[in-house]
Symmetry: C2
Subunit: 496 residues, 2 copies
């Protein structure tokens, strides 16, 4: 096992966790910085992972009755004023299109904005699409027969962030946003809750990331929502990461955009709404949930390459011999829908390749030399535990199938164990500050329910209320900060 990565050494987590994250994103070729402040380039290897996330989610959305559509990138400025809290939440951070033409300045010999081509009304590059979509739904909805509308959109959005980090916080990011319209509050709430379950299922069973489901405090709600549901994950440095949100929007956007329907009695009512989204931020959560100091670790379900075969040989002839002997195995794996790569690149040595595939998080690596073949065996290494085993070639397919399942399960269990070990219950302000400052993790503590206290705790410790978990047990207690009575503990953490 090549523990020393000379080519592409990455900073260890102990030394500098933040740098470790950046190193993995860059050196595993997930993403790259761009010439545009805050905008990233998603490189082919990273994009393939994103495509696999998309495919899985898209199927889950369609299986729950949703269809995809596409709405404009630009939103007229005035739309943002229509929903009062929405404008507060998004106006501060958006890209504004003011002109529609450039021209050549003949004196300066450079290209300049053409002042004659100023837009009458500025256009905002969508930070989220509630406004343009509800402006459209007004024309699509007349009667209860037109409901529900269950639409999802895969799109890019822009939020002008001052401090950016690859995947975690970028000015432009990719996401999906569901926007549904319903005849009753009950149906909309059920939709919002259903999609939260879809996200939790996806996070846990595809990405192997355990999450806590809950609702946000009013302070942390989506701008324009009546209730925001979320899934919260815990990264290896003890900080929380919000991995997905689903909002019950009440009739707020229907009222803002005058969207009414005739119910079965012919009476006009405002339509009920939800919206829900996950983004390329999940790529950051993925990296920080499973990876180690050798590089990326990927759950098999979203690994671009699940099995890599590295031949160990002298001379091309020997390599070709290994290749042809392994061809039946390669074919059998493919027939089992397992993606496999035989690395016949003669320019790199096996040791370099080992380090490279460890860096890229390939779940299973097969190494095979001439002597192995004579013994009818191959060496199989798993990325998650770095364990190696010699396996008879005849039994390899079954072994690998089981191994991939085991790696998927093991990554989840390992992350779940870490999550559970980092949940703390505290009863005093001193305890709270101590845990948040030293250990991090999730902290269950009593809170008096006021936005003021929430804000004070944030100012003092940088910890926020991540959520009030679903089915949270009621418990009498005193707020750790104000000492006022409290009926339940809520979940605090420092967060990305």
């Amino acid at each position: 096992m090549s523990q020393i990565l000379t080519n592409k050494a990455i900073t260890s987590r102990d030394k500098d966790y933040s740098q470790w994250y950046n190193d993995i994103v860059i050196k595993a070729e997930l993403a790259d910085y761009s010439a545009v402040r805050g905008c990233m380039i998603i490189k082919p290897y990273g994009y393939t992972i994103w495509e696999k996330m998309q495919q899985t989610l898209d199927k889950m959305f369609k299986d729950t009755g949703h269809v995809n559509a596409y709405f404009p990138l630009f939103i007229p400025k005035s739309f943002f004023s229509k929903e009062a809290s929405h404008v507060e939440g998004f106006a501060k951070e958006c890209a504004v299109v003011t002109h529609y033409r450039l021209k050549l300045d003949s004196e300066k010999k450079e290209i300049v904005v053409d002042d004659d081509a100023k837009l009458e009304e500025e256009l905002i590059v969508r930070p989220t699409s509630e406004t343009i979509i509800w402006n459209t739904y007004r024309n699509w909805i007349q009667s209860y027969r037109d409901l529900p509308i269950l639409i999802n959109q895969w799109a890019n959005v822009v939020r002008w962030e001052m401090r950016t980090r690859l995947f975690l916080r970028t000015a432009e990011f990719l996401w999906q946003e569901g926007h549904t319209a319903h005849a009753t509050a009950q149906e909309a709430i059920e939709e919002a809750e259903k999609m939260l379950e879809v996200y939790a299922d996806f996070a846990e069973n595809t990405l192997a990331i355990p999450v806590i489901k809950g609702i946000k405090t009013p302070n942390e709600r989506f701008a324009g929502a009546v209730e925001t549901y979320c899934i919260e994950a815990l990264m290896q440095d003890g900080k929380a990461l919000q991995a997905g949100t689903s909002h019950f929007l009440g009739q707020n956007f229907a009222k803002a955009f005058d969207v009414k329907f005739a119910n079965k009695n012919g009476e006009l009512e405002y339509v009920w709404a939800t919206s829900w989204g996950v983004s390329t931020r999940l790529m950051g959560a993925l990296v920080m949930s499973h990876s180690d100091d050798l590089g990326l670790v990927l759950p098999p379900k979203i690994a671009p390459i699940q099995v890599v075969i590295v031949p160990i040989y002298k001379g091309i002839e020997e390599m070709e011999e290994i290749k042809s002997k392994l061809q039946p195995l390669i074919n059998a794996l493919k027939q089992n829908s397992i993606s496999v790569k035989f690395d016949d690149d003669d320019k790199q040595r096996p040791g370099w390749k080992f380090a490279e595939y460890e860096m890229k998080g390939v779940p299973v690596r097969i190494a095979v030399g001439k002597r192995d073949l004579q013994n009818n065996q191959i060496e199989i290494a798993r990325r998650d535990t770095l364990e190696k085993q010699l396996i008879s070639l005849d039994k390899a397919v079954d072994f690998i199938k089981t191994l991939l399942d085991n790696i998927q399960k093991n990554l989840f269990l390992k992350a779940k164990k870490r999550l559970d070990a980092n949940i703390h219950y505290v009863n005093t302000w001193e305890e709270f500050k101590g845990i948040i400052e030293t250990k991090g993790g999730f902290v269950y503590a009593h809170w008096d329910g006021t936005a003021e206290t929430e804000e004070k705790i944030k100012e003092a410790t940088k910890a926020t209320i991540r959520c009030i978990p679903l089915n949270n047990p009621k418990e009498e207690g005193k707020c750790i900060y104000s000492g006022q009575p409290s009926t339940q503990r809520v979940l605090f953490a420092k967060a990305y």
Copy 2:
């Protein structure tokens, strides 16, 4: 057969071709107008067709060795100045981001652009991504070992068009853009030609749209290309539509962005480039290639619903009986990867449904009533020819499989026949003007090879040179306009 569409009557082609097109796009629910000038909404039914196009193309790209990635939406203004002809082609029509914040004007009580948040350098919403991508490739390419780079991107782009039409010409549209980097001119040319073949294959074998492959005249080339390859299709009104382009970019972008590689001898050379793209414009081509006065006609390969079953019944019980009797057929069709919908909507009558599915272009419609079931038969209607046939239930699966293949082939042959019937050879200016004005279609005529003549012909007739077909036969002749000697005929048409 319900020839009269009362609900959603569309204008006939004879009466107003342009209105016919708009009616189909709107009433088949492919797209809708938006509140943003020139930007469209792609509705779920239209988007499903686009998704099917994407899936087929994406597989073709991957089968030819390409991978997907994602580059920023925004491009710094200065990048456009770096490639001289590129700036000419795109600077006139682009959305310019100048600010990154809005604020509430406390006096006016309205939301305004925050002048304190002006960008140092304006950002252009990408009209195409050569500049940002080649600026990135500079960091990715050092040696011949880094080549080729074979990347594709699925993205939205913006070109500020003054006159817009749904799908055909919109300010924002969806597309894919391939951007490849090569060590030799030869390899890049082969890539550009290969992708032209991929596009032609896709147009003809998936969309059932026959195309003519060729190269553009210098005048009509992509801004920054050395050679532009294209596929040209002919719409029902006799106008041409450019359905895809593939560009050999030479070293133009490598020079503009200083992208060099060390060849095997260690010498630095500029990298060779291609780019190629198709867009949601193909949706317009699809509509105008096959549809009729009853609505959309779709090739089975990209139809969201391939078979629809309309039960004819009295009372829900009878409907349920029909449904359960047909369940084995529905299951068998699904097992054959045929998408099928049983329309159990009790709110609409069969006649309304017939018209609706004709409007939406569903290739095969099954109608079945109680008496049909007693006779163990169903009525099968094909959308392309509107023919109906009674078929024994036992033979239905095989019949439908064959029928779907036949419809796919028939649509192509019908369009091919129309294309062939609308190719004209003319030798004089009078003939040329006559054909262009009265019949339209493709016109093969001699041209003296000068941009000046090309421009004059365009001014006089609105016809442009669509392409110089690949493998164009050499033939001595005289230019129809100037009378100067010519060595080959080129393909003229009025175009979208």
